[in-house]
């Protein structure tokens, strides 16, 4: 299969490096931005916008290698469309949160969708990253191969760093074949029972690829061979959902009714088997119980304490107006490491300073 040729679009890396070097010299902050679809996520930052969309295009794609390499400013939808043509997909099923979403922005935020606990997270599929650090140096880490232990795993370190360690310019990802068949069933289950049940199911080799639980209803998706999917659906019972694909994409993109009523939306990431938390509000639960969306009048402190008490963390995912504290405060020892790494990558603190944490 021929590789997809590099687009004729201009290579903007030189320009990006000049912008970053200049900002480093002047000590003026930059706000790294792709499609700006995730502007809601994170702390408010000031700074000159560096728009990555001028650096776009799939650079290399070989379906038989299960590897795609694309520039950071490539629209996520374009990457997915190229893969779909060859029967493949980004198995972490990233949410877009807007048509303009770019690949770089998605990985900077490390966002993964409903398939995450079964296939892996965004970072699990990253094989290599080219990035420009806070001094304007162009650095290549990892590569286009699945097994690679040469050097520290900086390709994955920067996934989810929200641009604070460097500007990604190119990313190589491991991709997977689309499943031959998918089906979604719906069962009536209360929360505590459902959390336990889905985790019991996971002890068996069932082809579960997504789980959603809210308002007494449990949605389960199966992905795999036609036979496996049919057998699993029959085994677990429930009602087959006609437009299952729509349901999961609405969940992933926060288009379900649950998300509409939300003045503030919390994301709690907790050990999946944790029983229902006693915080007031409405819940929508995914990832076998590992990712829990909460719309609540409870205070940030109360929510964070409850998440931390069970070994998890809480993010103020969406809120009205700028917020001081979005991501869960780091333990002191971990915060110290973050500051040391920030200094190693961006000594002048010009790349998205404060977007993730005040001191980073």
């Amino acid at each position: 299969m021929p590789a997809i040729a590099v687009s004729e679009k201009p290579d903007a890396r030189k320009e990006f490096r000049e912008i970053i070097r200049d900002a480093a010299e002047r000590r003026t902050p930059l706000r790294l931005q792709g499609g700006n679809s995730k502007a809601f996520l994170g702390r408010a930052t000031a700074g000159t916008v560096l728009d990555t969309r001028g650096h776009a295009g799939v650079v290399d794609y070989h379906a038989s290698e299960l590897v795609i390499t694309a520039r950071a400013g490539t629209p996520l939808a374009d990457v997915e469309a190229v893969l779909a043509e060859h029967g493949q997909m980004l198995a972490f099923e990233p949410p877009h949160f807007g048509a303009a979403a770019t690949l770089g922005g998605t990985l900077a935020c490390a966002l993964s969708g409903p398939r995450r606990p079964y296939a892996g997270a965004a970072r699990d599929f990253v094989l290599g990253v080219t990035l420009i650090d806070g001094r304007g140096r162009l650095l290549r880490f990892g590569g286009q191969v699945i097994k690679n232990v040469a050097g520290f795993d900086i390709s994955r370190l920067v996934i989810g760093a929200m641009g604070t360690l460097g500007l990604m310019t190119e990313i190589s990802l491991n991709v997977l074949p689309r499943p031959a068949a998918e089906a979604t069933i719906r069962l009536e289950r209360d929360t505590a029972d459902a959390i336990r049940t889905v985790n019991e199911w996971m002890r068996n080799p069932l082809p579960i690829s997504a789980v959603c639980l809210g308002d007494g209803q449990l949605h389960v998706r199966f992905s795999g061979s036609v036979g496996d999917v049919r057998a699993a659906a029959a085994k677990l019972g429930g009602v087959e959902v006609e437009d299952g694909e729509r349901f999961w994409s609405d969940l992933r993109e926060h288009r379900l009714d649950f998300f509409r009523q939300a003045p503030a939306l919390w994301r709690l990431s907790v050990p999946p088997t944790t029983p229902p938390l006693s915080l007031p509000g409405r819940w929508l639960i995914e990832w076998n119980g590992g990712q829990r969306w909460l719309v609540s009048a409870a205070s940030a402190d109360e929510i964070r304490r409850a998440a931390a008490a069970v070994g998890g963390h809480a993010t103020l995912f969406r809120a009205e107006g700028p917020q001081e504290s979005v991501f869960h405060p780091l333990a002191p020892g971990i915060e110290k490491l973050h500051r040391a790494l920030k200094a190693a990558f961006d000594p002048h603190r010009i790349l998205n300073p404060g977007r993730q944490y005040e001191t980073i």
């Binding site: 070989h62 162009l138 050097g151 520290f152 002890r203 795999g224 990431s269 991501f327």
Partner: protein, 498 residues
Amino acid sequence: MASLPSSSPDEHQSFDRARVAADLRRLLGAHAVIASEEGLRPYECDGLTAYRRLPGVVAIPTDGEELRAVIGYCHGRRIPIVPRGAGTGLSGGALPHSEGVLLNLARLNRILAIDPLSRTARVQPGVRNLQISEAASKFGLFYAPDPSSQIACTIGGNIAENSGGLHCIKYGLTVHNILKLEVVLSDGELVTIGSDALDAPGFDLLALMTGSEGLLGIVVEATVKLLAKPQCARLVLACFDDVVKAGAAVGNVIARGVIPAGFEMMDNPTIRTVEAYSHSGYDVEAAAILLCELDGSVENVEEMLGKVETILRESGATSLRVARDEAERQRFWAGRKGALPAAGRISPDYYCMDGTIPRRHIAAVLTRIAELSREYGLRVTNVFHAGDGNLHPLVLYDSRNAQELRIAEELGGKILELCVEMGGTVTGEHGVGAEKLDQMCVQFGADELDQFHAVKRALDPAGILNPGKAVPTLHRCAEFGAMHVHKGQLRFPDLPRF
């Protein structure tokens, strides 16, 4: 032989063995410290026996607190620390420091908990890889990464190396299969990295720590993921009269949507060598053999099996055999798994490379390796984790001839350079350790190496954790080193190596 890494941290006082041993005995008890030459001797190398050096002192803590005490002590005096698990590593990552403490983690060997509902195991670093799957087995669960040394190698070492195994293409590497680490940093501080949830706030320190070869912190406890055991596994053995066709067949299977649990390739010299050794029933006339293992539900495996057979036939397989039962499956695997010991039988020495390449270049790379082999006048046999592109060429030579050793090293270096040139890497799973420092210079530029050093300084400002390994200093980037095995004598001859 390439020179050993010099490995002195910037500033440490001269090492007084008796004094350090006495101090450590006060912290750990007399039984937990070794300072006599005969006691130190077993620690002089790991699985890479070409590099040997006596450690200053060996310390054997029995729990996390003792381990922290040792690290705190060493930090205060700027004494280098080299962590060691089972010592099975193939790149000299546990090569001792002559003026340092070798930290033997063998006694931290308890499985602390297995939770079948959350499908996790909490273990100490000295627990052996296979022990986890054995303990999880009664719950129908297993720990997926399965490096070939899994009966001996420890989970702490696996995390340090980001170990793979035969089933990476489907189940991932160590980094994909761990959730949380308790790590002692170089100043003795204990931090929790990752969490029992599926992610943790902030940077992905779990990924940074995995594969960091003991340079950034020392794991004292790990929580790993367990998976439901697949219902069944079937193995297909396919012969080809042309390595180009075999290489293309691998890509064809994967491009058509099948992800095998394992996908291995052997070239003709390997087939001949291993057949004589393990009698697996391989066709010694075949130019290449593919082993393709499929696992999952009985029905799904049957479905995939049909598909794979068709694709392999269309790709030019001259013969296809599906293992009829478990005994035959094991027999088909035995040849592949015995590839390294078999090489040791036909050559006084061999030198095992560990490059990874994009799979589509396999035919070109094998052709070029054959040319290099002729050019340098040394035989090379090739075994290949075809599914994930990880190639293990074995350069056969005789170390009694000093000239041959040098030639083997030069040839090996050319092979690794070829891997980099083809868009691959100089090490897929064995690590850089003390061995591939020179090859790192081929793969990375000065800026990347400088950034690795910056990361090292950020986590270990004193530079006491496994100094001199994994990342070369810029002025070192000149020579080439490799794994040498004399007369087939691997340090652990009973361990399969593949």
